[in-house]
């Protein structure tokens, strides 16, 4: 479930990145974050599938809920990290302008 949530986040970010008019929002960073995590969880899922076989696709509801909660937390954390990078790099100069305002 965590893998699925992260993959969906990666796909949505990639679509937004493709549709962007300029690189001011640094969406590429967010894409790399989500795709990197998705690929790594894919590796984890391969080993889990090798161990559990068809049981891999029928997780217990409690495990699924926990994994969903984890997946959503991961998305929130990645977005916080992206926001911090965006504010530090400040490609639009909005933070600088706000700080320079008298």
């Amino acid at each position: 479930m965590t893998l699925l949530v992260t993959v969906f986040a990666a796909i949505i970010c990639t679509i937004l990145w493709y549709k962007r008019k300029n690189d001011e929002m640094r969406l590429g960073t967010l894409c790399f974050l989500f795709w990197g995590a998705s690929l790594m969880w894919l590796g984890d899922a391969i080993f889990e599938y090798a161990e559990l076989h068809e049981e891999f696709f029928t997780p217990a509801p409690a495990d699924m809920l926990n994994d969903l909660y984890l997946g959503l937390s991961v998305v929130a954390l990645a977005m916080i990290l992206w926001l911090i990078i965006l504010l530090i790099k400040d490609p639009k100069g909005a933070v600088r302008r706000a700080l320079q305002k008298k």
Binding site: T2, T6, G28, T29, F32, L33, F34, W35, G36, A37, S38, L39, M40, W41, L42, G43, D44, I46, F47, L70, S73, V74, L77, A78, L81
Partner: protein, 140 residues
């Protein structure tokens, strides 16, 4: 248990390599600029396509992103703690052996998957650039 450490280690190596290559690329551009001016630099960039330093930074971003979010997952599952030795598996020799085994299997597989996908991404990016350069609309 600590599979993300393999990706994180690769990310450190790739980031350092990318910075070093970027420095050598800048030096090369500076030398070309002093000899042939801005036009020579543009010609060099066109000939080179996407610089290696940029491609390596893509890999670094993928690895750092993956390692960071996986580290959080390990905190979630209580495998990483904010006190020494930071990895709960380090408290027991049996768990440590299991952790090392997991790093050498799952961790290495994760790093290989990310690297292979990055390699495919680089090939695709080069092909897209080449296709754009050869397209009649681009040359018009």
């Amino acid at each position: 248990m600590a599979c993300f450490l393999v990706g994180a280690a690769e990310a450190i190596v790739v980031t350092v390599a990318s910075k070093a290559i970027k420095a050598s690329e800048s030096k090369k551009e500076l030398a070309v600029r002093s000899k042939g001016g801005e036009k020579a630099v543009d010609a060099l960039r066109e000939k080179q396509g996407i610089p290696w330093s940029r491609k390596l930074m893509w890999l670094a971003y993928l690895l750092w992103g993956g390692a960071f979010l996986l580290a959080y997952e390990h905190v979630w599952h209580g495998e990483v703690v904010p006190w020494f030795p930071f990895l709960t598996a380090m408290n027991d020799p049996g768990d440590t052996a299991e952790m090392l085994h997991e790093m050498s299997t799952v961790g290495v597989t994760m790093a290989v998957i990310v690297t292979v996908v990055w390699a495919l991404l680089c090939v695709a990016a080069d092909l897209i650039l080449k296709r754009r350069a050869n397209s009649p609309l681009e040359n018009a």
